[in-house]
Every structure is written in C-alpha cells, then in structure tokens.
C-alpha cells in the first residue's frame, strides 16, 4: 500500500531546497507579521497613544496596561461575553451546524446540495461591510424582515438579545468553513465502518460517537483551533450592534477597537491584543486536552487499512 505520507521526503527536496521553499513565506511573515507583532507586544508595555502628550513621549509602564485591563470590569465582562460568543457561535454554532450540514449533505448529490453549499459559502465570502446592512434589514425593529415573518412588529432583537443576535449572525457568517472542512473529513470515513455500526443496530448518535468522531478527531481539532482564533478576533459584529447596548455585545475585538482607536490608547490596546493571544493559547490547550491522544489514534487510523 501507499507508504507513510508526509514523513517521507518523496520529492527529494533535501534540507537546502526545503529552506529555499519556505524562505519567501518566512521572510514575508518575519517582516510583515513577526516584526510588527513583537513591536505591538512591546507597545503593550507603554502608555503609548496616537495623539496627545503620550504620543510625543511614551513611557514604559510595565505591566500596568495588563493589570489595568484585568481589573477593568468592562474588560472582564467583555472577556466573558467573548467566551460566550466564541463558545456559542464558533464551537457550538459554526462547528455544530457545519458538521450537521456536512453530515446531512454527505449522502446527497445534485442541485440541492450545490444550492445549499453555494448559499452557505456566499454568506462566508460577502464583504463584511455589506453583511452588516443585510443583517440590519433582517433584524430591524420596525420593518425588519424577521419581525415581518414572525409577526412580532417592534421586537428589538439587537437591543434585547444583542449577544444572541451576534452569535446567530456569526453562525450565519462562518459556518461555511466548518462545513467544507467536515465534508472533507467525512469523505475519509469509510462507509463500511458506518454500515457495520448500522448493522449492529446503532442509532445515528451512536454511529457518530463510536465511528465518526474518533476518526475525524484531527479535523475537529484543526477546525476548532482556526474558527476559535478567527472568532476571537472577529470585528464584524461591531457593525451590527456597535458593542451595545450598554456593552452587552462588546466582545474583545470591539473592546480593543474602542480602547485603541476611539480612545486612542494604543498601548493598552496592544496589551489587550496580547491577552487575547494568551487566551487563545489556553483555548488551544483545552482542545488538545479534550481531544487528547489524537496523535496515537491518528496513527492507528492511518495504518489501519490492511495490506493489499
């Protein structure tokens, strides 16, 4: 059978050429990502502002920005909102709906499948500024399409359920990626494994638990890592609610925007960005722990095909 992939240097690249292949990307990343990122992290240690006296002569304030943020009730509530937002819209919403769609569409072909996939993808690729208008039209208090459909005139979705609104919005916005990734992953689940479970009388949840999830662990991990990271840094809900009312939808990217751009406190903004990075790291470690042993199982899955 096919040799172990990825481990082998099949194309005879060799270290030298491998470095040459990686170099352009690494250079670009070093210059336009690493360097500004480190600079930003440094800014986080100062009281730097875009204008005013602090712009002319920024002072090193050490961890003040960090302690400031961590003692700011708005930051903490914002953090909590973000955790809810990421958990609700990315982990449960996008990953859940994306998986369900991939699962349901798995056995279907033809125009229906193409239509559903096309519409879901469209929501993903539309420019975010445009998307804001679309959702206003949907959720507007007075003449919103949703209120018209549900016969609930005057119901202020964005004001009364701001967090829920942006969660649903983000599910709409980002499900496409998870759907595509899981569709691909499901294609790698041998149908015979599922059918074995069905023959044994397993229900759909049992099939998922016993057969599908163990086999696509690695894809689940990749997906969760990426969508959490993206959702953590997603600024789009700002166009819907502006963080309000009363900060009830002020997730961290919006908080950073307010601190860094509206209030001009770039130093504090940089510190919070770095805090977001650390929180993401924690998320990643949690995922790794939850999906622990994926390496071993992955290896197992890869070599499980019997020799020809």
């Amino acid at each position: 059978m096919a040799r172990p992939t990825s481990a082998a240097d099949a194309a005879g690249l060799g270290k030298g050429r491998a470095i040459a292949f990686v170099l352009p990307a690494v250079t670009l990343i070093a210059v336009f990502l690493l360097f500004p990122a480190l600079w930003t992290i440094y800014l986080g240690l100062t009281d730097y502002r875009l204008t005013g006296l602090a712009a002319a002569d920024p002072q090193i304030v050490g961890a003040d920005n960090y302690t400031g943020a961590l003692t700011d009730p708005r930051f903490l509530s914002s953090l909590w909102l973000t955790v809810l937002y990421v958990g609700g819209s990315a982990v449960i919403g996008q990953a859940g709906l994306g998986f369900t769609l991939a699962w349901v569409l798995r056995t279907r072909q033809g125009p229906l499948r193409r239509t559903v996939e096309g519409v879901v993808l469209l929501a993903w690729i539309l420019p975010s500024t445009v998307v804001g208008f679309l959702w206003f039209a949907l959720l507007d208090r007075d003449d919103g399409t949703l209120n018209a459909l549900l016969h609930t005139p005057g119901f202020a979705w964005l004001l009364d359920h701001p967090l829920l609104s942006i969660i649903v919005f983000n599910v709409w916005r980002g499900t496409a990626f998870s759907m595509m990734l899981y569709s691909a992953a499901l294609e790698n689940v041998p149908p015979s494994h599922l059918e074995t479970a069905r023959l044994a009388g397993a229900s759909v949840p049992q099939q998922l638990r016993d057969v599908v999830l163990p086999l696509i662990r690695r894809h689940i991990l990749t997906n969760l890592l990426l969508i959490s990271l993206w959702t953590f840094n997603d600024f789009t809900p700002f166009v819907l609610t502006g963080g309000g009312p009363e900060g009830r939808s002020e997730i961290l990217p919006v908080y950073v925007y307010r601190v860094a751009l509206r209030d001009g406190q770039l130093g504090a903004g940089a510190a919070i960005s770095f805090l977001i990075l650390l929180i993401n790291l924690v998320f990643a470690l949690v995922y790794l722990r939850l999906l622990r042993g994926r390496r071993r199982q992955q290896k197992t899955a890869a070599t499980a095909t019997p020799p020809a």
């Binding site: 059918e195 499980a304 020809a308």
Partner: protein, 350 residues
C-alpha cells in the same frame, strides 16, 4: 433461509444494479456470488443486509419479510471487504461492539468476546489495536465480530481479497471449516472463481445485475451455461475459439473435429476447451490445434503453454512440468474434453 423475490435495484443514475433476481438460499448453505467487477454482487449483499432499499421485490429471512426493516433489525452480520474494524477500539471492544449496542452488560460482553476470540485463536491479541495486527488477524477479528452477535446469516463481501496469496489460501480453508461448524447460512461475494469453487455449496454467477447460472461448483465448472460463465471459471482461462460447422465436421483454429450432432452452417458457434483438458504433441494431427509455442508460464507442478495458431487465436494449455517444449517450437494441442456453444449458450459437451 433467505428468499429473494423479484428483487430489482435501480440506482438514481439509471443503473440496473439488480434486475429481477429470484433466489432461495437454504439454511446453513454456503452460497457464493461470483461475477466480474460491477455486476451487482455487493448491491445484492447490501440489499439483503438492508443497507440498500430495493426498487422492487422483497427479501425474506427465515419467512420474515424484512424488506422494510432497518439493517439493525434483520439479525444478519456482514463482513466488509476492508473489514471495517474500528481503529480506535482494541480487539475486545471491536468484537463486543454489536453486544454493546444491544446493551448487554459490560462483564458479559467481555466474556462473550473472549469466548469467540478463543475460537478464532485471537486470545493473545485481545488488547491490541487494529494497527498492530496483520491482515490475516484483522480478518479474523472482523469474523469474530460477525460471529459474536449470533446472527441468522453471514454476509461476506470479498473478505479475502485484501490478503496476500499465501494467507488467502489458509484463510479459505479456515473459513470453510468455521462455516461447517457454526452451520449458519452464508452468502459470500467474490470475483475469484477459485475461491468460489473451493468454498461454496452453490455458486451464482452474475453479470449486469442478473443471475446467469446458479449451480453447484462441479456443475458450474463442467457445464458452464454460457460462454460468459465459461470464461469466468477455471484457474486458467478457458480457450473460447470461434468454430465453423460444415455438414461433415467442425472447424476450429486449424483443427478438424467430429460433429456432435446436426448443426447449421450459419450457426454462431464457439468451441470451449480448458487448458487442463488438452494434450500437447510435437506432431501435427488433423484433430489437434497446430501452432508455435510462444510463452511458457511455470505453474509449479505444471506449465501453462501459449500456442500461437496460424489462424490467429492464442490457445493456452497446461502440461506437466518438464514436458514443455522451448518457445518457438511448433507443436499441436489435442482437446480431450470440450464444450460447444451456440449463440454463447451451452449446446453440448464434447
């Protein structure tokens, strides 16, 4: 007992994967489905298992109409071509999986799994993961899992095709013995005629969703009903040669053979002779196929000789080892037993 009545399966694309199949498989019978790739073997098996819904027709298992039952309620076990052993479960968990779904207590499951495993000499492997098993061992785990749930029927889809040649032979004997002992009705899909001949009580040869011939191995081997079956059966392919009838004789590839009975000269005749049923001689004879030896293939105790006839067709025959002339030698082959087909349907044995 499995009874199929007027079973038809048309796939969305319009493919007639099964076309009006009528079949009864007796209790405890070892029944083989044989046919080329794409003829509908797997579809038939899957329809019995309930993994495909038939377009028309019914499936009965032990007098129970199961056509509309979901697979889990049909009480059959299937072994897939790729074994479908769950890579994340160890051998015990794999074998006990059907029992787990049936909500049998954990302790009892382990005991039962161990019992079945012992029977298949898997006891030492109970805690291994599938990745740590050889192909043959994996196959036995798949079998054990099928046995563990005590089904009324086994459905095997080419379970041996992934094994290497050596292991395959051993597994074949093993499977046969196991089925004898358990006496469970078994439907076995293969496209290897040798496997079907060696294992089955009866064989159905399929082509394009239809059953061409259903018979015992010996019958199938000796009296293949059509040239299709004839070409499919035998460890070396049967020579199928175009024949021409004159009022006096049968003319086949340069040989003049006696007529088996009255034949029309316009008939579309095919003369079939197995490589094993021919004798090679260095001299030319009128009732032998003349030609030049072109390729020799060692079959161990025998050699497969390819003879290029002046009229075109290649003829293959088996000669005992040591008796093969070198390539390039002129030689002739005399048929001992043969079959005559008219319009690809068996007319008579010769």
């Amino acid at each position: 007992m499995i009874t199929l009545h007027a079973l038809t399966k048309i796939f969305p694309g319009g493919v007639h994967a099964l076309d009006d199949i009528h079949l009864t498989i007796a209790d405890g019978e070892f029944f083989a489905l044989l046919g080329p790739s794409g003829c509908g073997k797997t579809t038939l098996l899957r329809t019995i298992a309930g993994l495909e819904t038939p377009t028309r027709g019914t499936v009965h298992i032990d007098d129970r109409n199961v056509t509309d039952l979901p697979p889990g309620q049909r009480d059959v076990a299937m072994v897939f071509q790729d074994y479908a052993i769950f890579p994340h479960m160890d051998v015990t968990a794999n074998i006990a999986y059907p029992l787990r779904i049936k909500k049998i207590p954990r302790a009892e499951r382990a005991t039962k799994a161990a019992g079945v495993a012992a029977r298949l000499s898997l006891t030492d492997l109970l805690h291994r993961r599938p990745a740590e098993l050889s192909g043959g061992q994996q196959q036995r785990v798949a079998l054990a899992r099928a046995i563990a749930c005590h089904p009324t029927a086994f459905l095997f889809d080419e379970p041996l095709s992934n094994l290497d040649a050596r292991l395959r032979l051993e597994a074949r004997t093993f499977l046969k013995r196991l089925q004898r002992e358990l006496a469970v009705t078994t439907v076995f899909v293969t496209h290897d005629q040798a496997e079907a001949l060696a294992l089955a009580d009866r064989i159905a040869v399929m082509s394009d969703g239809r059953m061409i011939q259903v018979a015992t191995p010996a019958e199938i081997f000796h009296r293949p009903a059509t040239t299709f079956v004839a070409s499919f059966i035998g460890s070396t392919p049967m020579n199928l040669l175009p024949a021409r009838a004159t009022p006096a004789a049968l003319h086949v590839a340069g040989a003049t053979l006696p007529l088996p009975g009255p034949l029309h000269s316009g008939d579309n005749l095919t003369y079939g002779v197995r490589p094993e049923y021919m004798t090679l001689s260095p001299t030319e004879r009128p009732d032998a196929f003349p030609g030049v030896i072109s390729v020799l293939e060692n079959l161990g105790t025998h050699t497969l000789v390819t003879l290029e006839t002046p009229t075109g067709p290649h003829i293959q025959l088996v000669v005992p080892e040591g008796e093969e002339p070198p390539p390039g030698t002129p030689a002739s082959a005399t048929p001992r037993r043969a079959l005559l087909y008219r319009d690809d349907t068996l007319l008579t044995t010769l």
